[in-house]
């Protein structure tokens, strides 16, 4: 699988990554190389196998329904790039 410029642009958009125009050919090359490596999987016969998402066949543990967290807005917003009246600010959201 080889990726061209427009493939890279599409994926970068999906992942919301701005790439420098000049870097795109190199990304295309590197990503194509990685996909060539990845494509070695296709030779393996996996028809009898269940996909494995986690090393253990464990199941989800349940948490009691209790409020354990108190308001820590000030501490948690200390890293925020822009806040006002306790809200995180972003460029206008248009629906």
């Amino acid at each position: 699988m080889s990726l061209d410029r427009s493939d890279v642009e599409k994926i970068a958009h999906l992942a919301r990554l701005q790439l420098d125009d000049a870097d795109i050919p190199e990304y295309a090359q590197h990503l194509s190389n990685i996909l060539a490596l990845v494509d070695q999987m296709q030779a393996a016969d996996t028809s009898a196998l269940e996909p494995m998402a986690n090393p253990h066949d464990a199941s989800q543990r349940l948490r009691a329904d209790a409020v354990t967290e108190q308001n820590q807005r000030e501490a948690l917003q200390a890293n925020a790039p822009a806040t006002e009246n306790g809200l995180f600010l972003v460029p206008k959201v248009i629906e």
Partner: protein, 484 residues
């Protein structure tokens, strides 16, 4: 051309847990912005989710209530997209293995028949935060208090054929989730949000038309209006030779206008995959049976019982049985007064009138079910008349005490002593010579009508307290004696 409407609903219902689905932050509504958004809700680096047992229990309850298959292995997936109210950049949801599989609910149609609506699935997911669009120097403000609130998304089959049916279905789901106590169902606060998929097709055609989705209808009225509007729009488009575009539309209940949401540049590619921070949720029959044992009586069963046990009409039972709070108020009042018909009449009449005027629900009524029962007892034992009872109820509503206290304080006890009534009657007859003369002059079969005047005078003179039946009887006897 005759068109057929095809409707499917997606209902997002907030579960009434104390804490969030994957964190220990509170789910209470109305807090200051971001004061209920903890490190996990804010998706701080390194934070991880742990699943709330109550959310699971509530989802299973819902599944059992709609007679659905329960997913013994359900899996949380990540739905990836970027949006400022979605802190992790993905929503934790369930795609391939939902907690609730196919089920159904029955709705009552106007013609008295019942129609079964299929529920495709219901899955657990987390709610997003809110974007506030008022102007912050041209920016939007993000409040993540709601982020992580547990939801079940209930997806119906496209079995619904009209706006009325859609509302009946949504109301039935609403009645079920509130009866189960798994949601407060408050539509104005967004606890119960309906998205409606609407398409039309020529009558008789099997194939579905292109559908549109109208989002976030926050009242049943808006939902009905929005569907009617959308159906009309689609008919207009198709009859003008146009085509329906698959799109998401927003309905504004105030202006009664819907508009297409800004079209997205490309189709969403959500890149769903199983969330590696959560493991499969495994439940067994014992777990399911234990929850089944806790299920309360559901609205359909209660409706049947009310008709059977209390002899109520379809209409009365329908209103009294639909919601748990009304139903239990009714039953408590019946227990207190021993007369279901009387209790039903009062609940659907006077009590409803006061609730509507005050704009409150039955559980906020200042007159408790026991107190109402106490009032009805006094009607039944002839302590007061129905008319006086309305006065007493008004006083009770205004916090002036129990029925007996009000009757006592205001001296409203009915006069049943026939001697006392005869004295008042004699007084009235003595003071109304012209009317007595007219009565005497009238044909015997017209006299009944003329009795009304004397009744009014006697009741007035007694301050409304004389027993109307006795007054009637004594008046008739005395006047007729004068005529002989």
């Amino acid at each position: 051309m005759q068109w057929e409407t095809v409707i499917g609903l997606e209902i997002h219902c907030q579960l009434a847990t104390e804490s969030k689905i994957f964190s220990g932050a509170s789910t209470a509504f109305g807090a200051e912005p971001n004061t209920q958004a903890c490190a996990v809700d804010l998706a701080l680096p390194g934070t991880l989710p742990v699943f709330n047992e109550k959310a699971l229990e509530m989802a299973v309850k819902f599944g059992l209530a709609i007679d659905a298959e329960i997913g013994k292995k359900s899996v949380f997936d990540r739905k990836n997209y970027f949006y400022p109210d979605l802190p992790k950049g993905y929503q934790t949801s369930q795609l391939a293995h939902p907690i609730v599989g196919p089920g159904h609910v029955d709705i009552q149609l106007d013609d008295g028949t019942t129609k079964r609506i299929g529920v495709t699935r219901a899955h657990l997911e987390e709610d997003a935060g809110k974007s506030l669009h008022e102007d912050f120097h041209g920016m939007s403000g993000i409040d993540l208090n709601r982020a992580g609130t547990p939801l079940i998304e209930i997806v119906s089959e496209p079995d619904i054929r009209s706006a009325k049916e859609a509302v009946a279905y949504a109301k039935k789901i609403h009645a079920i989730v509130t009866a189960l106590g798994i949601s407060d169902g408050d539509m104005s606060q967004g606890s119960f949000r309906c998205d409606v998929n609407v398409s039309i097709r020529p009558k008789g055609q099997d194939e579905f038309g292109t559908r549109t989705e109208t989002k976030n209808l926050n009242s049943f009225k808006f939902m009905e209006d929005a569907i009617k509007l959308e159906v009309e729009r689609q008919i207009d488009v198709l009859e003008d030779g146009g085509t329906i575009v698959q799109e998401t539309r927003l309905y504004n209940g105030d202006t009664k206008v819907a508009r297409s949401m800004r079209s997205k540049e490309e189709a969403n590619d959500y890149r769903y995959f199983p969330c590696p921070d959560l493991l499969p949720v495994m439940i067994d029959d014992d777990y399911i049976d234990a929850i089944r044992a806790t299920l309360p009586e559901l609205p359909d069963a209660r409706l049947a019982r009310f008709k059977e046990q209390y002899g109520l009409s379809d209409y009365d039972a329908g209103i009294l049985a639909a919601y748990g709070s009304m139903a239990s108020y009714f039953e408590t009042a019946v227990d207190a007064c021993g007369d279901a018909k009387l209790a039903a009449n009062w609940l659907l009449g006077e009590v409803s009138k006061y609730l509507n005027t005050a704009g409150i629900e039955i559980d906020a009524s200042p007159v408790s079910a026991e107190a109402l029962g106490g009032l009805l007892v006094r009607i039944k034992d002839n302590t007061i008349s129905g008319n006086i009872a309305k006065k007493v109820f008004d006083a009770m509503w205004n916090g002036e005490g129990s029925a007996d206290e009000v009757i006592e304080a205001k001296g409203l006890k009915q006069v049943t002593d026939s001697g006392a009534i005869e004295a008042i009657v004699d007084q009235v007859i003595a003071g109304a010579t012209p009317q007595v003369e007219q009565y005497k002059a009238a044909e015997p079969d017209k006299r009944g009508k003329m009795l009304g005047f004397f009744m009014g005078q006697v009741m007035k003179a007694s301050g409304g307290k004389a027993n109307p039946g006795q007054v009637n009887q004594i008046l008739k006897k005395k006047l007729d004696a004068l005529c002989d």
